[in-house]
């Protein structure tokens, strides 16, 4: 085995992950190769340093807290489903109904106001026309007669 092949296998050698035959071959190589032996020592050192850390344990009542969280999560889920099914679709519907009602109301009000104005304006025009008729005795060809004739024609027809 070459040094390159052995060095690629050193990590697995260290972790006891090689087959019996490969373990023997790598072991033999390392025992007579200082470079590969140094590399193995370095990997071993760093692995031992990590391994020297104390074991970790879950805090007391961890499982109880997980179950409480699961139950709370389920409650939240029900609330979320409720929001999705009821609250969320209602909002756009309410906005749409509001806009539609506004448009309908505006339209009704508009036609009512416009209708009233039209009615009122017709009465006013008739009144003005009647008033213009009282100027019938103006001298023919005068500026006053031309004005009254023009104003009566524009307003009435």
């Amino acid at each position: 085995m070459t040094c390159k092949t052995v060095q690629r296998r050193l990590s697995a050698f260290l972790d006891g992950e090689l087959t019996e035959e490969l373990t023997r071959q790598v072991g033999e190589h390392v025992s007579r190769c200082t470079e590969c032996a140094a590399e193995l020592a370095r990997l071993q050192k760093v692995w031992q340093l990590l391994g020297s850390l104390p074991p970790v344990q879950a805090p007391p009542f961890f499982a109880t807290r997980v179950l409480a969280q699961v139950k709370a999560g389920r409650r939240n889920l029900v609330e979320r489903v409720g929001e999705l099914v009821f609250a969320r679709p209602l909002l756009p519907i309410a906005v749409s109904v509001g806009i539609l009602a506004g448009v309908l109301l505006g339209s009704r009000l508009g036609s009512w106001i416009t209708g009233g104005y039209r009615h009122g304006s017709e009465a006013l025009v008739t009144q003005v026309a009647t008033e213009f008729e009282s100027f019938g005795d103006l001298p023919p060809g005068s500026l006053s007669e031309a004005y009254v004739t023009l104003a009566s024609a524009n307003n009435i027809k």
Partner: protein, 193 residues
């Protein structure tokens, strides 16, 4: 009762079976989270979230799969997500503070002796260990944590990471070399790798 039987019991509606699974694996999940995230507070939150995810996903769990492998996959993926979110937060935050690496203290080999200086050095050592592991690319980090702290075999790690045994061998070899480079000062040797 084995894991598969407990999973089956849970699927039939027995919440007690789930509680038993939590008790059985809580230390392992917690250890994975502490070693990946570097401190107990974040790890505890993450471990709880992992089990909540497991609870929600268990009804869809393939009974032919191994529960522990599936659990480790959820745990490591969740921790990677936490780390990514932490990086994003740190990027947008004005404070570029490192997380407290209390999950790496105390260490027998890092212990320089009694006294106030010793405590400081021990803290620095813990931080160095955390930074070394945190500096690894994601796949190397996961493989290292599972191999060193979860005591999983290469075959089990390959299953968790959904890769081959030879890929795990290669990943772990690179991880060890990288860790040595990062920790060479602590190991009282210059970087030679």
């Amino acid at each position: 009762m084995d894991d598969a039987a407990l999973v089956e019991q849970f699927r039939k509606g027995d919440v007690g079976a789930f509680e038993e699974l939590v008790r059985r694996y809580q230390d392992k999940v917690m250890a994975t989270c502490v070693r990946m995230l570097g401190n107990h507070a974040d790890a505890e939150d993450a471990a709880q979230e992992v089990f909540v995810k497991v609870y929600d996903a268990l009804p869809r769990f393939d009974p032919r799969a191994k529960f522990s492998t599936w659990l480790y996959r959820i745990s490591t993926n969740h921790c990677l997500n936490v780390l990514r979110a932490r990086k994003v937060r740190r990027f947008f935050s004005l404070q570029r503070t490192e997380p407290e690496a209390d999950g790496y203290l105390p260490s027998a080999q890092c212990d320089p002796g009694p006294g106030p200086d010793g405590a400081v050095e021990q803290e620095e050592c813990g931080r160095a260990l955390w930074k070394a592991i945190d500096s690894l690319p994601e796949s190397q980090k996961v493989a290292t944590v599972l191999a060193r702290f979860g005591n999983l075999s290469y075959a089990e790690i390959a299953e968790v990471m959904e890769t081959t045994v030879s890929a795990v061998e290669s990943i772990l070899h690179r991880a060890k070399r990288q860790l040595y480079r990062e920790l060479s000062d602590l190991l009282e040797e210059g970087p030679q790798v």
